[in-house]
Each structure stands twice: as structure tokens, then as C-alpha cells.
């Protein structure tokens, strides 16, 4: 009664579990940290990281070059994060949401930084975190996001201005 022949024939031949394991081990920590910087809770960061790898696996082949693979994963994480931030912003203005999620228990400063980053446009916030927190060069961010290097620098300039304003507005001392 056991029969697996048909099941085997419909499994995609390009699924390479061992490669994903390697990618995960190499980059999950960084992606999780990056997502945490921009997420209200660790759960949300985990969801984003999970979403990143889900999208990556769904996309099929990862770049062979380790640096390209890293940039590729950050690009997916950035898009997922921007989507999340936009959606949460929309969600916040739906008047019947009612309740906000409880914040993560952190130092006041860490929370203020996170709040300020979340208060500015997602594209600028992700550019700032990729540049300052993750250490990507503007040229790498440009390649990652599919925009020009000048566009990245513009986002960084505008992002810093907005971040400073937002940070002070919510009570932070610079």
C-alpha cells in the first residue's frame, strides 16, 4: 500500500536543501539583527527573517558567490522590511485596530532609535541601517536595491535629517 513513486516524480529537481542550510547558517544572524533594528518586537523580526528565507527559497537559485548571496538576501530582507513598515503604517491608521503590540524590553535608547527609524520613510530607514548598522558601502546598497549610488546617498542624507528630527521629537537627547 505504500507508494512514493508518483510523489518523487513531482518534486522539483532544483530544490537544494543543503545549500539553503549553508546560506542560513551564514546569514541568518545578520538578517535577524538587521530586521530587529527596524522591528518593534523580536517576533516581528523573526517573521521578517523567516519571510526573507521563504522568499529566497521560493525564488529558486541563490547566487553562487558568497558576497552576492549576502547582498541578495539583504535585498530581499530590505524589501520585506519596507513592505512590513508600509503595511504597519497603513494598519496604524485603520481606526479599528485598537491595540498596538507591546514593545520589546530594551534600554530606553535602543527603543528610541527603533521608534525614530520606524517614524521615517522605510526606504530611508533601511538605507541608514544597511549603511551604519550592517556596514554595506553605498555602492553595495545601490546594487542591492537596484538604484543608483547617488540615490542611496540621497536617501542617507534625507534619512539622517528625518531621523534626527524624529529622535528628538519622541524625547531622545542627541
Amino acid at each position: 500500500m505504500t507508494e512514493i513513486r508518483e510523489a518523487a516524480s513531482v518534486i522539483r529537481p532544483d530544490v537544494r536543501g543543503s545549500d539553503w542550510d549553508l546560506l542560513y547558517r551564514a546569514h541568518a544572524g545578520g538578517i535577524f539583527r538587521y530586521c530587529r533594528r527596524l522591528s518593534r518586537t523580536p517576533d516581528a523580526a523573526e517573521e521578517l527573517m523567516q519571510e526573507t528565507f521563504t522568499r529566497a527559497i521560493r525564488a529558486g537559485e541563490a547566487p553562487n558567490d558568497p558576497d552576492d548571496a549576502r547582498r541578495w538576501l539583504y535585498r530581499i530582507a530590505t524589501n520585506a522590511t519596507i513592505d512590513r513598515l508600509r503595511r504597519e503604517r497603513l494598519l496604524r491608521f485603520v481606526p479599528f485596530v485598537g491595540h498596538e503590540r507591546a514593545p520589546e524590553t530594551n534600554s530606553v535608547e535602543v527603543d528610541l532609535v527603533r521608534q525614530a527609524l520606524r517614524a521615517i520613510p522605510p526606504e530611508q530607514a533601511t538605507a541608514l541601517v544597511l549603511r551604519l548598522h550592517e556596514g554595506f558601502a553605498p555602492s553595495e546598497i545601490a546594487a542591492m536595491l537596484g538604484i543608483s549610488e547617488a540615490g542611496v546617498k540621497s536617501r542617507l542624507v534625507r534619512g539622517r535629517r528625518r531621523f534626527i528630527g524624529a529622535y528628538e521629537r519622541i524625547g531622545g537627547q542627541l
Binding site: 510523489a7 535577524f32 520585506a80 479599528f96 485596530v97 535602543v110 548598522h133 534625507r158 534626527i164 542627541l174
Partner: protein, 613 residues
């Protein structure tokens, strides 16, 4: 020369030449405000770059345990895998193409009428249909968590990594009643209520439309939100919501396309209850078979386009603990866990997958008596005027021979017999022995006929040669007269039992209530596949949308579906009752000798239709 602000805000990324550096140094010496800005920029950079408190990275298996769209987890050990081909020819008999309607509905479920290429997600014990390409982007509890807090899901229409163009949200509330939730949370709450009402559907569906404001860096505006509420099970309410897009300085509303998607999602979104019980694969197959006829027994059919995989675990706990392995399937597949079983339905048609998965709910109920199954605890045969159908030989029980009664042509009732491994040209003969009265009829040898792709069937005519009654069918090998399988069938008069509406009003409209009527006839032939009944309703006008529900009635239940429903629009045209009529198509109910009561927008019309041979 750029302004000093921009140079300062560019931080270490600013490309500076010696002249610019000199300018900046000079400027800073004279500008206290600029020195303050530089200090703030440096401080801000430090804050953003500062490391976060340490936190463990979730292990990979946690990530992978959440199934991605279009993937199915296959437990690799200690699981029996059973694959059953859904015979394409048989499936076509129940999922006819062309009008977007299907004819099968599990009890308490809608008749699936999904666009074929839609995806089905199983999340939080719900079956959620979505258009192709949409993805889940948010799945989080509202906080603070508590018994009243909803679970919030967002799905976006996206292609690759482009930004979302449209979205739909699904909120799941525990422990509320539909009316209470709508009244307390939305109508009497802080929603800027625009309107509320109901939506015609197979279950109560409430609609609340509200206005909301938004604002962000781009500006501000307002939009309308349309929320549909349904009770999916005794403990849960689900809201399916859509919004107008955020366009600065404008008030927007959901597009007609989004409303249509929302309607389809809401109509088909159902709970998939689970239970801590142990089932056999055969029980699951029997449950599916009642809604969507399967091939005989357990088999693999290379030519079938729809496949059911059943993963049999030791118990539910084992199933939930099983570590899935991601595989991508060439055919769209949706899986559901129930008890110790993981059942995966693979089909290019979302309606087939939907029917297979919802059919499993029958496992949670006492097994109903059907025409092809013996009544529980009662041996097949005739006793006290009751004919109990079912197999009398092991070969008819174990799937070697599968018997089905069906009406195929005028005035005749057949037993369809599927034999495992039958060959083209193979012949059988039969003797019919009446159990509720004296009588015996011998049938001449008959050959296997193709019923659908890859399937052969022996058609044993009963009604025409033998008449109605409780008949024992002895299927024999004509070469030696040996009985190879024996089954009891209950043959009824296929032409009787349908009280179709015949009364007319003064204008000649067939009607019993005077409110809803039929122009022409309430009887039609199932062979008229493109035919229709023309219906009218007082006060309807062209453009109105009408939800039709057909419930099978009469003693002769020949159709495999107990109900069929779909929506139609009122078309313009003069009738005895005014302008506008709507069509009840024969195709969805086109089962020979079937009888249907018609409900219009949930109201019994008093109309009964007969579909003859």
C-alpha cells in the same frame, strides 16, 4: 558648492575634495548651528550603528516548519504514503467547465466556484483562497494579547519583489458572536461608519463600510474600508477587509476588482477543524469519495491530473511534531492536517483541491448512509421493507471491484462497476436477484467501456431490464460462470418523486408564491447542456445581483451534490412581471432525473425544477 547642511548630513559618505573640506572647516568655525548639526549627525550615526542587545537567532527548523505557499511538508520517516489518482474523467463529471460553477459541496460548505488558478492557503485552521501570486506579508497577533485580541493577516498582490499593488486583510477573532462583534467593535466603536448591511451568501455575511484617515511623509488622505464578517465556526469570527489605496489629498475606495476578490475570498474562507483522533487512509478516501469520486481503491494513475497524497502518522501529536521537508510540486498543492493524517491535494483546479480538503470534515461526523455504502451495523440485504445497500463479497469491499449506482440515460439506472486492472475488451456477465420480492434477471455479457482518461467501467443496466427494487447483483466471469463480486443495490423509479412546480398565475408565469416565477417550463433535459430556466422576481431590475441556491429534493436523489449555488445578474428584457429576468442554467444541475428546489437570495422561491434524462 553644496550647502554645508548636505555635506554634514552626508557624513562620511560625502565625496569631498580639498576645496570643499576647506570650505566646510571655515564654515564650521563661523556657524554654531552647523557645528551642532555635525555633532547630532555623528551622534545619530553612532546610535544607529550601536549593537543591539544579544538575542538568539531562531533555529532553521523553526523557520522551515512554517510551510511556504505551494509547498508541502513531507515527513520522511514512519509515515505511510498513499497516493490516489482522481480520475480525470470522473472529476469532469462533477466539475464541469465553462460557467465558472461547480456542482459539489460538502455539507455546511459552499459550492466551490473559485477561479481555477487560485491558490489555497491553510493557516490557523482556516482554508483561505487567494488569487495567484498573492503572498502573506503579515501574520501577527494584535496586542496586548488576550481573549478578545484578533489575529491579523495581510496578503499582498505582488510579482517578484515589486511593491504591493493591492492587499487584503483577514482578522480572526476568538470567542465572539457575529452580531456582537460588528455592533460593539465597529458600529458602536470608533470606526467612522459609512454603512452596514448583509451580503447574500451561503452563510450569514455582514458588511461594514467605514472611512479612515491616513498620513505619512507623502501627505495625507482618506479611504473607505469595506469589511465582510462571517462566523467560520462556533468559536471564531473572520473579517475580510479591503481598502481604497492611499492617494494624497484624495478620498479613495476599493476598486471593483478588489471587491470581487474580497467576495470570493469571503465566500470560500472556511474553518478546517482538527481533532485528536486516529483515522485510516481508507476513511479519508471514503470521505473524499463522497464529494469527488475517486478511482477504485488505492492506486496511482499516471495520466490523472489531480492526486491525493495521504500521510498516515501514528497519531496527531506525531503529525504535529513531524519535521517537514520543503519540496516544490509541479502541480499546485494544498495540504491539511486532521487527526493523524496529513492530506495533500494536488490539482491544477483550485475547486478540486478545495473539495478534497473540505470533504475531510466528514471524518468528524458519524458516517452518513449513502447509496454506495452499507448502513452501519446492518448487513446488506432487504429486511422489513428496507433495502440496505453494500458489498457482500470481500472483492467488493477491498476495492478490487467498486460498485456505484447512477442514472445515465432515459429511464434506466445502472450500476457502474470499476474493476482493478480491467482491460479493454474484457467482458462480464451478471445475474440480478431481487431481495424484496420474487424475481431474477440474467444479463447478457457486456464489455468494459472507457469512462474517462485511463479508466474503464462495466455498466450494468438495472432499471430497464429488471425494474425498481432491492437487487443483489452477482457479477460473473462469463468464461466459467464464477461469481467474482456481489453487491446489493436499491433501484428506484428514476422518473418519480419530483414535485416540480406547475401552477401558474394569470399571466402564465409558473409560480407558487407569486413573488418568484419561471417563464416557460420547470422541466428540462440534462442533455440540453447550454439550456436554462428563465426566472423572474417581482421588483427586480436590470443589474441586480441574485444569489441562486439549488437544493436537491425528491425521493430520487440522483445528483452527487446536495446543493448547488452561484450568482447571476438580472438582465434587461420585458417579462409579464416587468423589466428584467435572470437565468438558472441547467448545466450546474444537469444530472439526469434530478429534482431541485430553488432559493433566491436565501428565500425559498417555492419553485421546484426537474432535470430529466
Amino acid at each position: 558648492m553644496p550647502h554645508a547642511d548636505e555635506l554634514l548630513l552626508a557624513g562620511r559618505d560625502a565625496a569631498r575634495d580639498p576645496a570643499t573640506d576647506l570650505f566646510l572647516q571655515d564654515h564650521l568655525r563661523e556657524c554654531a548651528e552647523c557645528r551642532e548639526l555635525r555633532r547630532k549627525v555623528e551622534r545619530a550615526d553612532l546610535l544607529i550603528a550601536s549593537p543591539l542587545p544579544p538575542a538568539g537567532v531562531p533555529p532553521r527548523n523553526e523557520v522551515r516548519s512554517r510551510p511556504a505557499l505551494g509547498r508541502v511538508g513531507i515527513a520522511s520517516v514512519a509515515v505511510a504514503v498513499i497516493i490516489v489518482g482522481v480520475v480525470a474523467g470522473t472529476a469532469i463529471r462533477t466539475f464541469r467547465e465553462g460557467d465558472g460553477t461547480s456542482q459539489i459541496a460538502a455539507p455546511g460548505r459552499p459550492v466551490p466556484s473559485l477561479p481555477k488558478d487560485w491558490q489555497l492557503l491553510t493557516l490557523h485552521d482556516l482554508l483561505i483562497p487567494l488569487p495567484p501570486g498573492w503572498q502573506k506579508t503579515i501574520d501577527a497577533p494584535a496586542n496586548p494579547p488576550g481573549p478578545d485580541a484578533p489575529r491579523i493577516l495581510y496578503f499582498d498582490d505582488r510579482a517578484g519583489d515589486r511593491g504591493p499593488a493591492q492587499s487584503i486583510t483577514v482578522w480572526i477573532w476568538p470567542d465572539r458572536s457575529l452580531d456582537q462583534l460588528v455592533r460593539e467593535r465597529f458600529v458602536e466603536g470608533n470606526l467612522s461608519l459609512v454603512s452596514q448591511g448583509t451580503v447574500a451568501s451561503w452563510r450569514p455575511t455582514r458588511e461594514v463600510i467605514g472611512a479612515a484617515q491616513w498620513s505619512d511623509a507623502r501627505g495625507s488622505g482618506s479611504y473607505l474600508a469595506r469589511n465582510l464578517f462571517v462566523q467560520v465556526d462556533p468559536e471564531r469570527i473572520v473579517m475580510v477587509g479591503i481598502f481604497g489605496p492611499p492617494v494624497p489629498s484624495q478620498r479613495t475606495e476599493p476598486t471593483p476588482e478588489m471587491r470581487s476578490i474580497q467576495d470570493i475570498v469571503t465566500r470560500h474562507l472556511v474553518a478546517l477543524p482538527d481533532v485528536d483522533r486516529v483515522f485510516t487512509a481508507d476513511q479519508a478516501l471514503a470521505a473524499i469519495d463522497r464529494q469527488l469520486p475517486l478511482g477504485p481503491g488505492v492506486l496511482v494513475r499516471g495520466r490523472s491530473d489531480s492526486v491525493v497524497h495521504i500521510f498516515v502518522h501514528q497519531d496527531r501529536t506525531t503529525r504535529l511534531r513531524a519535521s517537514p521537508r520543503d519540496v516544490s510540486l509541479s502541480t499546485p498543492e494544498t495540504s491539511r492536517g486532521i487527526g493523524n493524517l496529513e492530506v495533500a491535494a494536488a490539482s491544477p483546479d483550485a475547486n478540486v483541491r478545495y473539495t478534497i480538503l473540505t470533504a475531510l470534515d466528514a471524518l468528524l461526523e458519524p458516517a452518513p448512509a449513502t447509496r454506495v455504502s452499507p448502513v452501519a451495523a446492518s448487513a446488506p440485504g432487504s429486511q422489513s421493507g428496507t433495502c440496505t445497500t453494500g458489498p457482500l463479497t470481500e472483492s467488493a469491499r477491498n476495492g478490487e471491484y467498486v460498485f456505484r449506482t447512477t442514472l445515465i440515460d432515459a429511464g434506466n439506472e445502472f450500476v457502474l462497476v470499476q474493476k482493478r486492472g480491467a482491460q479493454i475488451g474484457e467482458r462480464m456477465s451478471a445475474i440480478l436477484r431481487r431481495l424484496d420480492a420474487p424475481g431474477q434477471v440474467g444479463l447478457p455479457p457486456f464489455a468494459a467501456e472507457p469512462l474517462g482518461p485511463g479508466e474503464l467501467i462495466f455498466k450494468v443496466g438495472i432499471y430497464k431490464p429488471a425494474g425498481k427494487g432491492c437487487w443483489q447483483v452477482d457479477l460473473m466471469d462469463p468464461s466459467d460462470g464464477r461469481v467474482v463480486a456481489r453487491y446489493v443495490v436499491d433501484v428506484r423509479d428514476p422518473a418519480n418523486g419530483c414535485p416540480r412546480t406547475r401552477s401558474t398565475d394569470a399571466s402564465g408565469v409558473i409560480t407558487s408564491s407569486g413573488l418568484i416565477g419561471v417563464i416557460g417550463d420547470t422541466s428540462a433535459s440534462s442533455a440540453d447542456i447550454n439550456g436554462k430556466f428563465v426566472m423572474i422576481r417581482r421588483a427586480s431590475k436590470p443589474g441586480d445581483h441574485v444569489e441562486l441556491l439549488f437544493q436537491q429534493v425528491g425521493a430520487n436523489a440522483s445528483a452527487p451534490a446536495s446543493s448547488v449555488s452561484y450568482g447571476v445578474s438580472v438582465a434587461s428584457g420585458q417579462t409579464p412581471w416587468g423589466d428584467g429576468s435572470f437565468d438558472a442554467y441547467i448545466k450546474p444541475i444537469g444530472f439526469p432525473n434530478s429534482c431541485w428546489k430553488v432559493l433566491v437570495d436565501g428565500i425559498d422561491s417555492g419553485i421546484v425544477l426537474f432535470v430529466g434524462p
